[in-house]
Amino acid sequence: MQLHRDRDKFEAAGVSLAVIGQGTPAHARDFIKANKVDGLRILVDPARESYEAAGAKIATVNELLGPRVVARGTTSALRTGLFQTRTRGHPAQLGGVLIVAPDGSVPYAHLADDASDNPPNDEVLRAAGRAAKSA
């Protein structure tokens, strides 16, 4: 997930960006340090209730380690250094992205179908811009 690297672009588009992880605050601080994203709004949900409410899923083994993930995900993750350290939290819990408007509507959703399934930043940015205009 690379959206946090475009935080300034989201702010410029008129939306906030918040990242939710499943570890502890200490894990989140490590994440910030490792990814050089000081100032990013990062929240923790060790019970993963918000994952459930967002509609994210638990992957199968194939969705974590299958050929599609190896081809698309693992190499990308290694390149960006996002997965440098050992897994923390539920290893099969997948994530995703929702945009929520002030009226509580959800104009954009992309929930990961496997471990390599992240939406393109441009797609999320465009949706964020539309949401800000209609808010």
Binding site: M1, L3, H4, G14, V15, S16, L17, A18, V19, I20, G21, Q22, P25, H27, A28, R29, D30, F31, I32, I42, L43, V44, D45, E49, S50, A54, G55, K57, I58, T60, V61, E63, L64, L82, T87, R88, H90, P91, A92, Q93, G95, G96, V97, L98, I99, V100, A101, P102, G104, S105, V106, A109, L111, A112, D113, A115, V124, A131, A132, A135
Partner: protein, 54 residues
């Protein structure tokens, strides 16, 4: 199952609205409670759920 993986393939279930999310409380880096609904009270928010930290 290894890694706590699901035996059966699951479908994602994107919500039509954020009602179920709004009341949930998570923590910030200092351990303070944050009500999720407060995140989109003033303007839209892009919420990113990470797979895991590392």
């Amino acid at each position: 199952m290894p890694l706590g993986a699901s035996r059966r393939r699951q479908e994602t279930r994107a919500p039509d609205n954020a009602d179920a999310l709004a009341a949930l409380v998570v923590q910030d880096l200092d351990g303070n409670d944050v009500r999720l609904g407060d995140l989109w009270a003033d303007r839209p928010v892009v919420l990113v759920w990470l797979r895991h930290y590392g």
